[in-house]
Amino acid sequence: MFSRPTLPGAGRLRAVCAALVAVALAALLAACGGSDSDSSSGGGSAGGSSGDTSTLTIGVAGDPETLDPEFGQAQRANETLKNIYAQWTRYETADAGDGDLRADLSKPPVGEALESYRISRDGRTVTLTAREGFRLPSSGQLTADDMLYKTSRLLGLNAASVFDLNILGVTRPEQIRKVDDRTIELSLPQPSPIVGAMLRDQDAGLVDTELVRRNATGGDEWARAFVGRTGAPTGAYLIEDYQPGNQLVLRANPDYPEAPFFERVVLKVIPSADERAQLLRNGTIDIAADLTSDGITRLADADGVRVVSVPGLQQTQLGFVSDKAPFDDARVRQAIAAAIPYDSLRDNVLGGESSAPGVWPTQSVWYDDSIPSPYATDVEKARSLLAEAGVDNLTFDVEISDADADAEALAIPVQTALADIGVTMNIRKLNAAQFQENLGRRSAQAWIRSGMGPYVDDPYYMAFLTWMTRSVVNWYGYSNPVVDRAGAELARTLDEGKRRELASTIQRELANDVPMISLGEPNFRLPVREDIRGVLWEPDGLLTYRLLRR
């Protein structure tokens, strides 16, 4: 009856449509090929995407959450803060081989923005003198007023970073006074051996006083909103351009005493870890940050890529909440420690890039290797310790964060090993917030967490932060009067020999009590393009851009 409807002009219409589509695609693809940038290609290119050898491009997972040194907590923010705010002090460096560097922890830190820091004979007065010629971008020469302003801001905001002063015993503004135009004094309630190291913390970075003051308001006297968003840098790099979610471009500070090799550093947000790895392979970026151990291992053999690997202070720990059953019995904890196949974990999970685990980071200058380690695999000993403790068919839950791929990778072989001695370990994977909340409440039975290690290699710092009964990171519920006494004594002891004895005392107690098991001490590892040198390892594991070179 009716023929299929056809359009007499259909052919012409087709042609017009095809032309339109072709024009649109051609415009797009022409744009792709039309730029003089080499970012399009898959070929390697020194200088990252820009093709500019004076620019360093780092692929990062996300933005720094703040540009305010008083509020930095996460790794990305801390690294940014470390590089854009001048530190009062810095570690001296030692050769780490292959053109890279490591912090020389055997020497006390030296001044960076400071010309000197002097500690009085009684150890209770610290005199800080600004370096002559050290300039802040808006304020000019660094003065005592700038240093006072910084410390007042730390105390006034009372954010977590005030820890840097509190650990020295400085809790009130009256403990800080101006001596002359370039000098201030800190009055400590007792001598502190870690003044130099604490002044190096990125949270303690000096802000550009005049700029901060100009942006303070009645309701925001410390310009928290402004500094968090815009920053008030004083360090080796200043902020040239910040597009949240896209990139942060840093420019070398012309007033900084030592000119960095790279004029610009681009922190490019590339959310996908696989994409960052791929872009490093093809030379689009110079450094791929924020990768997991597994991701870094996969890059080890990639053409044009070099994986910097330096032994560090970080541990991946299996922590026990030792103030409640079943881990309130040290024999149970010792049994678990004896059942774990440490060599296998190192070789098969950590890619061989790990130091043997210790109760104290074995790369610490305070580590006492004469103390027998509880971390030796001995399955028979494990069984007999459990029998001695009267524990049969032990079952417990271990919590891990879903954001901690390294912890998960270690948890599974540990679970298998414990099954061999009749212990059932259930792995509970929680979101990062819930995991952290449970750690603070000590509501878990046990947990596994990577990245456990001190930012400052000092026994008092470690005791104060972790091992004393009231320590803020005592997620173990650990309480040992011997450790408490040693920690308290370390706080006021300056004599190195005595300190070493006290550090050993703590380690001996930890080796007996086993409040945690170090499953490994993964090296600090960073995949970079093969022409990048000058990577500096410091205890905080944060990269220092000013020393990098091509």
Binding site: C17, T55, Q73, F163, A225, S272, T284, Q434, E437
Partner: protein
């Protein structure tokens, strides 16, 4: 008078329904995000004291019952306050304003490319149902609907970037390190033209290409399908038969059919655009595109609730608004729709 009261009543009902939907979205997302855990420990970090944790929890209102927290949130919302990002300390409204243009630019480009291929192909396919063009278009529709957008994006990156080397790597909106042109609209292609910066224009266009093509391939096939089906229906309708029997030129007949087919296509296009505003999350993640979708993902990973709520509410509001506008326009131009509504 009767006509204007009809419009007022209709509009009032639709706006009320839209507000109710937004309230439902806010409630749902609020509850889900609160179930994911307390972010205070993450915000403050490991070195925070219990006193500092308690103080921040008080400051953020997390120590209050969840109903009270929700009522406070809704109260602030009514005053246009979407809260403050706990991580960046910036107002969420400001962050959304910074990032929305990137999503809009991507969604508009994807939709433009999508319309460019779907409508003509749908019309051509309808002229010969069952013909080779129709069969190919059906295959494309099935492919586009079936393949996840992130997977399609990854395939395109693999092919055009890493194998052929003709498109840039998926690292955002501009060449790495290139400064953005002065912000006028926030759409880089437009702003770079306004600034007379052809280099930035070329750069923004090439970075826009693959994500836009991804969206055009994966989000627009329903437009093709609808265009084809409505056009077939129109070409078989009585008025077309009538027009043909009166001897009207075929081009005129075809134009009549096309005009009648475009009303549902227009509605579908509006819905697709609304969907794209909230639906670019995966594509933005694959291409490191700094829009609101990527912002939501990153905020979620950091347990930063307010931005997530803000993004979902904004995307929902845009979707509802676009759909409402499309509905009103359809009623205005098509008496059959008006008749149905009345």
């Amino acid at each position: 008078m009767r006509s204007s009261s009809f419009w007022l009543v209709y509009l009032g009902r639709r706006v009320a329904a839209a507000l109710l939907a937004l309230f439902g979205v806010a409630l749902l997302v609020f509850v889900v995000t609160r179930l994911l855990g307390d972010p205070v420990n993450l915000i403050l970090g490991a070195r925070a004291t219990p006193e500092q944790i308690a103080a921040l929890r008080r400051e953020l209102g997390y120590d209050k019952p969840i109903v009270e927290q929700f009522l406070t949130y809704i109260g602030n919302l009514l005053q246009g306050d979407l809260g403050v990002s706990r991580y960046t300390q910036l107002p969420v409204t400001e962050e959304l304003a910074n990032r929305l243009p990137a999503t809009l630019e991507l969604a508009l480009a994807g939709l433009f490319l999508g319309l460019l291929w779907t409508v003509p192909l749908g019309v051509i396919a309808a002229t010969r149902p069952g013909g080779w063009v129709d069969r190919v278009s059906q295959a494309i529709v099935e492919f586009g609907v079936a393949i996840p957008s992130f997977f399609c994006g990854l395939l395109l990156v693999l092919l055009f970037t890493y194998l052929l080397g003709i498109t840039p790597p998926p690292v955002g909106r501009l060449d790495i390190g290139t400064a953005a042109p002065a912000r006028v609209t926030g759409l880089l292609t437009v702003d770079s033209l306004l600034a007379g910066d052809l280099r930035a224009f070329g750069s923004s266009l090439k970075y826009l290409a693959l994500p836009a093509i991804t969206l055009a391939l994966t989000s627009c096939p329903p437009i093709l399908q609808l265009t084809r089906n409505t056009m077939i229906g129109a070409l078989r309708s009585n008025y077309v038969r009538g027009a043909r029997s009166f001897g009207l030129p075929e081009r005129t007949v075809r134009w009549y059919a096309l005009k009648n087919s475009l009303v549902p296509v227009f509605t579908m296009t509006a819905m697709t655009f609304g969907f794209l505003i909230g639906g670019t999350v995966l594509v933005e993640t694959v291409f490191s595109w700094p829009g609101i979708g990527l912002y939501a993902v990153q905020s979620m990973q950091r347990f930063d609730y307010e931005p997530v709520l803000g993004v979902v509410l904004l995307a929902s509001a845009i979707y509802i608004l676009v759909y409402l506008i499309a509905d009103l326009v359809s009623m205005a131009i098509d008496p059959r729709v008006r008749e149905g509504a009345s």
